[in-house]
Subunit: 355 residues, 2 copies
């Protein structure tokens, strides 16, 4: 604590990202990164950037990138906002659409950055309790509120909410912005982006970090009707005019335009997820059904914490959250098939030792 | 205006960056970019980045980059904070150190983003009137306040405040954070970074956009005692864990480590500035003495607006601010010598036509 810190700085409890290990080589299945590299077109695009471009400010409107995204979703460029990772887009959205004194709603088990944004921007929030199986109680999101934030599929559970339920939530909250955070939607879910023409209260947030293998480049985007995008623009232009550097802009464009690679990439991850889930069920694990690139698992015989440490000792890094309701679960990101086989092998050995 | 916008979104007046023209080829001396490309080592570093790196989150602590900066300034890594351009660093600093209800002070003529941050974070501010010659009245910054923000050299005037005056301001404000925005310090000024060991209330902010020719990559940093850097970290980690992508991190490192190139680059710009200033004085212009990579000029016989449009028509883009006290001035960024010769030639012709 320092006397120079503002009251906000003193009061916030910052987000803690998953470990990015240095030195020792781990099988790293702890931060939901894609195990496969991005489309080869990405490096090609990066290598084409000239020194003379680097000295100039990048396009503050990110015109080409927004055009590429708009085409992908059948939207207009005015319905697309891009930012420095979806975390930045989420931060801007919390500022742009929610007000102190009018509590926003999000699930009790969800992305742990939501309450952090809430406290940073001094918003109130109510946590809506998920059902026992981590599914989302739609009715609970139809009560009075100042806004709604739902990750779909949810993190760290992987649970997917079908479009018909999102429509019910949108219909029940026509005066508030309903933010659907679709960081993991490309692994089997259907994007709510198709509802944008109907709902002025819908903001859909995506990232290229997962399904486009670009976590290292920090590109996220939001889709919504023009008025919402203008709201995000106002906040962004009051914070940092140029949030996306010139390289991230061309690289993201290249990734989005290589649809064939994208399809292959996400399919591989889904196949791995389903295979690993099946195997874990056979081993007696509880596996929350997932539509994401990770699974949340638990075992009656061995505590998650013990497993976490056991795996770490053997060179496998997974994610453990010491949080209510999920403190006996591990979140396992999908690695390559080879990595997942090693993970399953080590996990079997740990279970064996326990007997 | 939209009913979905928060009260902040409705009330702010966003910053407007200088024009980034498309299509038509301009002599672009309007946004203080460096006319020369970055060190060749920058592209080399970028080309070394592998596809496998892009799929992983970047180092959230930016360890290597902070180490390179720390070495440059004789500081420890705990005294360095990096961000997505100095605009982001400034935004974080306003949140981290200033409180609503306790007005911060900055000059009436300065970087026009300061009042925007103020309004975004609902801080109050008082503008301190600069002297007639745009020099800074040090005494006026010794009155009660909630924090101080000074660009040195100032923008868009180019006026430089010597270290002894900064020391007086620091001594007179030991309980508030004094932020010295040194975006342009490398063009002849002395950085206040040397005062950091003595002053826990000093935060110095830099950018690689100007003197390192990296506007396109969005890298800025702050220097200060550990407690201040921790304050910035708390805000950043409540906003976006990974603000600097993996390419910007290695490219910025390369730029900072090529000291020889840096010296040559900034010297060329300074020589051009002094030559152009001299020529403009001969032409009867008022030239505010500048220690930056731009100059603020005015002429008694022709209005700045007329000159702005005349120059634009002839393919030369400069910056005009329709703001109190400087609405008859033009800000001219330093281009290559060739570009500046064309600018001077066209300016002469415009003056000639007037006669």
């Amino acid at each position: 604590m320092s006397k120079y810190w503002s009251t906000i700085t003193q009061s916030i409890v910052p987000y803690v990202p998953g470990e990015q290990p240095k030195g020792k080589k781990f099988i790293k299945i702890n931060t939901n990164e894609n195990p496969y590299p991005p489309s080869p077109r990405v490096l090609e695009a990066i290598h084409k950037v000239e020194a003379g471009t680097l000295r100039l400010y990048p396009d503050p409107l990110c015109h080409e990138l927004r055009k590429a995204i708009a085409q992908q979703y059948g939207l207009s460029i005015e319905q697309v906002f891009v930012g420095n990772g979806s975390d930045e887009v989420l931060a801007f959205a919390f500022m742009a659409f929610y007000n102190p004194g009018n509590p926003i709603l999000f699930p009790d088990v969800s992305y742990t950055f939501y309450p952090v944004y809430s406290s940073l921007f001094q918003l109130e929030h109510h946590k809506v309790f998920l059902n026992e199986d981590f599914s989302l109680p739609v009715e609970a999101f139809l009560q009075g509120n100042g806004g709604i934030v739902i990750a779909n599929p949810n993190a760290p559970t992987g649970c997917y909410l079908p479009i018909c339920d999102i429509r019910r939530i949108l219909d029940g909250n026509l005066d508030q912005v309903v933010l659907i955070d679709e960081a993991y939607i490309d692994f089997g879910g259907e994007s709510a982006a198709c509802l944008i023409p109907e709902y002025p209260n819908l903001l859909v947030v995506h990232t290229l970090s997962k399904s486009h293998s670009l976590a290292g480049l920090r590109v996220g985007f939001a889709l919504g009707q023009k008025e919402l995008i203008q709201g995000l623009d106002r906040i962004k232009n009051s914070f940092n005019s140029y949030t996306l550097d010139c390289i991230a802009q061309v690289a993201a464009c290249a990734a989005i335009q290589d649809e064939e690679y994208f399809e292959l990439n996400r399919n591989k991850v889904m196949v791995t997820r389903d295979r690993v889930s099946h195997r874990l069920l056979q081993m007696g694990f509880t596996v929350v059904p997932s539509m994401a690139n990770f699974i949340l698992i638990s075992h009656a015989a061995l505590s998650a914490q013990v497993l976490f440490h056991g795996l770490r000792e053997k060179g496998v890094l997974v994610r453990y959250f010491d949080l209510l309701r999920i403190d006996n679960y591990l979140r396992i990101s999908m690695g390559t098939d080879e990595d997942m086989n090693i993970f399953l092998q080590i996990l079997s050995e740990l279970m064996e030792q326990k007997k």
